[in-house]
């Protein structure tokens, strides 16, 4: 039997969810920058249907009750160029601008980056640092999951059959932040390790969120670092910076793989932490 693959182009998000629920072994496609390569290399041999999400009304960035909502269909380029995102979430702007190369950023979507659930996905630590929630749509309704509850392992997440990411909800606040990444070359590189730091003021107090990628089966936060930073006075002393770096190294539990080694990643978690703090 030759593999006949159906291609669906639904008219609405609900219809997309219905098709995905109905068709065994169907896969949603947004930008396709990861998926098409995987399919071509035979990684999903049972696939019988593609459901194209690219023309659905998922390409929006808007304000809704104290939150900024980013539609999952926005491309990296759309996120990078959006003034709302740029003003409120520089961490995310920076993270999105390091994904792949320009051609990839023009196609790859913000939803796809999380749905793909690579521990190295560059926008994910930024989403962690910005306390994003994920709106998940299915034919039976909507549920919202906090970003740190979404990922369950490398390439794995809580999405069920028939569910798609509709949008990311980010609490609207003026944040500052940095995103740092080490790759195997200067551009078009998958992260060996990445780190996002975001900070904002809440009730007169500085809040900090730190997340790292490629150092664990999923992106992780570094709560001990966050606590330290929130309890220390600014500008940070060299001792605080050193302590934060050491805590980040402790929080990282990476493996060795084709891109880098465990020992290097662990040490770099500290270096990136230090640099992130010095970037203020």
């Amino acid at each position: 039997m030759i593999n006949q693959i159906s291609f669906f182009k639904p008219d609405s998000v609900i219809q997309a969810c219905e098709i995905l629920a109905r068709e065994n072994n169907s896969l949603p496609v947004a930008g396709g920058t990861d998926l098409i390569v995987k399919i071509r290399n035979g990684m999903f041999p049972q696939t019988t249907a593609f459901v194209d999400l690219s023309s659905l009304p998922l390409r929006f960035i808007r304000e809704t009750d104290g939150q900024i909502e980013i539609g999952s269909g926005c491309t990296m380029t759309e996120v990078i160029e959006n003034p709302l995102v740029c003003k409120h979430f520089p961490t995310l702007t920076k993270a999105a601008s390091t994904v792949g190369a320009l051609q990839i950023r023009n196609l790859a979507t913000i939803g796809g980056n999380s749905a793909n659930s690579s521990p190295a996905g560059d926008t994910i630590p930024a989403m962690f640092a910005l306390e994003a929630s994920i709106k998940i749509r299915s034919k039976s309704g909507l549920r919202t999951v906090k970003i740190d509850q979404f990922f369950t392992g490398p390439g794995k997440n809580v999405l069920q059959r028939g569910e798609i990411i509709e949008s990311f909800l980010l609490p609207k606040r003026e944040t500052r932040g940095v995103f740092l990444k080490l790759g195997e070359r200067k551009a078009h590189a998958i992260s060996k390790i990445n780190l996002a730091l975001a900070t904002w003021t809440e009730s007169g107090k500085a809040k900090f969120r730190v997340a790292m990628g490629s150092v664990a089966p999923t992106v992780i936060r570094a709560p001990e670092v966050e606590k330290l930073l929130e309890s220390s006075s600014q500008p940070f002393s060299d001792e605080v910076i050193a302590e934060a770096a050491s805590l980040a190294t402790k929080a990282a539990r990476p493996i060795s793989d084709v891109r880098s080694s465990q020992a290097y990643r662990k040490q770099m978690a500290g270096v990136l932490m230090k640099r992130a703090m010095n970037a203020f």
């Binding site: 290399n41 080490l182 195997e184 070359r185 200067k186 551009a187 020992a263 770099m268």
Partner: protein
Amino acid sequence: MPVVGKSVPRKDAWDKVQGKARYVDDYSFSDILYATTVRSELAYARLNGIDTARALSMPGVKAVLTHVDVQGKNAVPLVFEDEPFLAQDYLRFHGEPVALVIAESYEEALAAAALVKVDAEPLKPVLSIREAIAENAPKIYKDDNCFSRYNIKKGDAETAMKKARHIFEREYETPYQEHAYLETNGVIAVPGLEDSMAVYGTMQCPFYVHDAVAQAIGIDRNKVRIVQTTTGGGFGGKEDFPSVVAGQAAIAAKLTGRPVKLVYKREEDIIASSKRHPGLIKMKIGTDERGKIVAAIIDYYIDGGAYSTLTPIVLWRGTVHALGPYECQDILIKSYGVATNKVPCGAYRGFGSPQVIFAGESIIDEIADELKIDPLEIRRLNGYKVGSSTATSQIIDQSCGLMETIDRAAAKADWKSKWQAPSSKKGSTRTGLGISTVYYGVGLGAGGKHLDRVATSMTIMKDGSVHCAIGNVEMGQGARTVLAQIAADALGASYEMVNVVETDTALVPDSGPTVASRTTFMSGNSLMIAAAELRPRLLHVAKDMLGETRDEDVELIDGWAFSKRNANGQRIHFKELAQKLYAYRLMPSAFGWYIAPDSSYDKDTGQGNAYFVYSYCTNIAEVEVDMETGEFQVKRITCAHDMGKAINPQQVEGQIEGGTLQGMGYATMEEIRHDANGKMLNNAFATYILPTTEDTPVIDPIIVEHAYDRGPYGAKGFGEVPLMGIAPAIANAVYNATGKRIRILPIKPEKILGLE
């Protein structure tokens, strides 16, 4: 010389920049079939059987071929003929072709290929040089796992070593390198009348392919025609491997009686096609108190992979060049091309040299460092000059610009004021300078001298345009342009009127391979021979047209003939000369047949005139290292090259820029990895990391011209040289910046920090 030495535009530039150039996958034939390859999943196994029944029953499938379907001899004709077109008896590497599925569409072929069942019994594979040479290693090739070995014995190295003031002993390792040409391997085999076979495809060596197709389907060579299509890069990767692809496609085309297209996906190209050999180099160098080399003992091993392909000749070149361009009277070099159960390695720009150059140029830097000599001065002290004796006791009698390349690169890179010892470096960002010097034997040398001849067919058309068929290919390196420049000046035609066409085995006899930086020199010389035969005929008709009495009173330059005594008087255009040539019924065609200058090699001692001439270069790399992350940026590479004569300076600079960047990839990021069972892990560009434009340093090319008296207009050949010495220049610069010596390529941040 109206065009030689000028940066005229490339003949193929406009078509390529406009996307008009057609590569093999852009072509089709009516009734065409598509082939795909079933590959071994195992690194080493006994092949018990291949079940093709299910695949054969699939829609669109015309045939499933295995070794039993090979009509001719199931062996790719290279050096030893140990590689089958389709696996037989054993599977010897992960990715080895086992069967071909031929179908009406590529998709149908792919679907059926998944259903071919290979019954194989896994055996324990040998996966590295060290495993292959271990005493108790399983024997996968003859009784020593060794495809070939060489010795070079000059003087008495053991005794000289004992007398040396200082002895340095180090080991170096170099990785695979994938060619990463833009166009993957591919051919279309088209069966013709009277059992003939034509093959169109991307390739460097149409005559190797000619041999392979004739052998694969068992027909005479005069029934086989190989047409090279516009080739999207080769770098050595399309020297031997197209023979495999073309042989397979021809077998399928003969069996089905229909044209068959076999074009590789990138992932299978990486998994199955040849690579640069990984190397292991053990260097022992003795010097006197000033750093003058007095003894050298070198053991050089390369990982040939599962079949010998070009390993014996790759090894020979590396062996000859193992010490680098340094004088020494007492040398012992032993080399080994070993078998492993991995993808067969073959030619890659530099051909067995970059491995030993990395070792040689690193150890000379280590010696300079320990003896507190400027790395540049130790090279001036030991490097070749006219009159030097090489490792094979060849006297360099002319065309040796090494010292000038050192001087000019050093001046341009500001070495004197910038270079400081590593101990003086401080801070979290450190800069470093590193140097390498290289020499390279042009052409096939004594190791391949029986193949070192080329043919040219040159015809003056009735309209004065000139058609040249050559035996070396254009693969992006600029051959058609540079050779048209040589032909134009040699004949007296204008550059615009000369067309050098892509290679077709029906047009010229076997001219050997397009490798070894030999094309400008060899095909250039053969064009000059053909032009020298045609030019007197043109002068003869010009004499009559200009009313002169003797042919020698007439001059013909750049498309115009005129009287020597009246250079500003009447001029006759080449087109009119051509018309008269035909009216006179003079033969408008000539054949050039050029045989390389002699070379020699003694099998037992390795002594002789290994190559007829050498090219030289000096590279100076400047790096900036982040001491916290180990990340480094190559800021600038200054490259001074002596290629005899730059026929087209812009193309020379292009070669320098491209080769330098390719060398930087080899030095800093490129690496093929296998798992414990010998399965290749990174057969895609997401995981096989190449440099991008963002990584590209400033590349500063410098042309040095020490003419070779037998070269066309003094040219030697140098296309490979720009890559060859980049890795040690960068490694030496990293050492200079950090004090950390990297002896195993690639140089990675993890290694600089000791966190591998």
